[in-house]
């Protein structure tokens, strides 16, 4: 039963994520590119690599550096 409940909850949450429409273009681009990469991994049967994880981490770290800069 716990397994069924977890599956139902996961599906509900994922459907909620797919239906939410309050994000703009730049956020949608990030999400859609990420989603496409996961789909590609699932369809090809070749899992994401360390480089994939590291590349996204590097993007986040660079944005964090930018977050700590004050506007000119």
């Amino acid at each position: 039963m716990a397994l069924v409940n977890a599956l139902a909850l996961a599906l509900e949450l994922l459907q909620l994520a797919a239906a939410a429409a309050d994000a703009g273009v730049s956020i949608a681009n990030i999400l859609n590119a990420g989603i496409a990469k996961v789909k590609q991994a699932q369809e090809s049967g070749v899992d994401l690599t360390d480089d994939d994880l590291q590349s996204m981490l590097n993007t986040i770290k660079q944005a964090s550096v930018d977050l700590n800069k004050d506007p000119a």
């Binding site: 994922l14 989603i35 994880l53």
Partner: protein, 140 residues
């Protein structure tokens, strides 16, 4: 094993749901720890991108902000954003390290992602509390 993988899917679904995506692509349930961590990274990066747009606005009260009509960024809110972001980057870094380990367990990844999810929620909440959305910031 299946239950743990589903737990990861639930955790990431929550993160992505809270990130508020556009709805143009259905979100696939992660099937491996790496996919779960990657989706958490993507969810945080999307919220972080919005925060960055706000932080990049001229500070309120500055000479640059006074001469333009677009909104400005409050120094106090910027400080809040920076604090959460620093914690989130550390949490994501740790989650990526965990997922890279060949002997990583689903439980370890799930625990790591809980922290990432909490901080993604915290950043999103800061932005929401102050009405910071892509619409409120205007087009680029």
């Amino acid at each position: 094993m299946i239950r743990k993988t589903l737990a990861i899917a639930v955790a990431i679904g929550a993160v992505l749901g809270l990130a508020g995506c556009s709805g143009s692509s259905p979100v696939p349930a992660p099937k491996t720890p790496r996919q779960a961590v990657f989706e958490a990274e993507v969810a945080y990066a999307s919220v972080q991108a919005l925060a960055l747009r706000y932080v990049n606005l001229p500070r309120c009260g500055s000479a640059a902000a006074a001469g333009i009509k677009i909104s400005c960024s409050d120094a106090g809110i910027v400080a809040e954003i920076r604090k959460v972001d620093a914690d989130a980057v550390a949490a994501i870094d740790s989650a990526v390290d965990t997922a890279k380990k060949t002997d990583a367990t689903d439980t370890a990844v799930t625990i790591a992602l809980k922290g990432v999810g909490d901080l993604t929620t915290a950043l999103r909440q800061i932005l929401a509390n102050h009405g910071i959305t892509e619409a409120s910031l205007g087009t680029r």
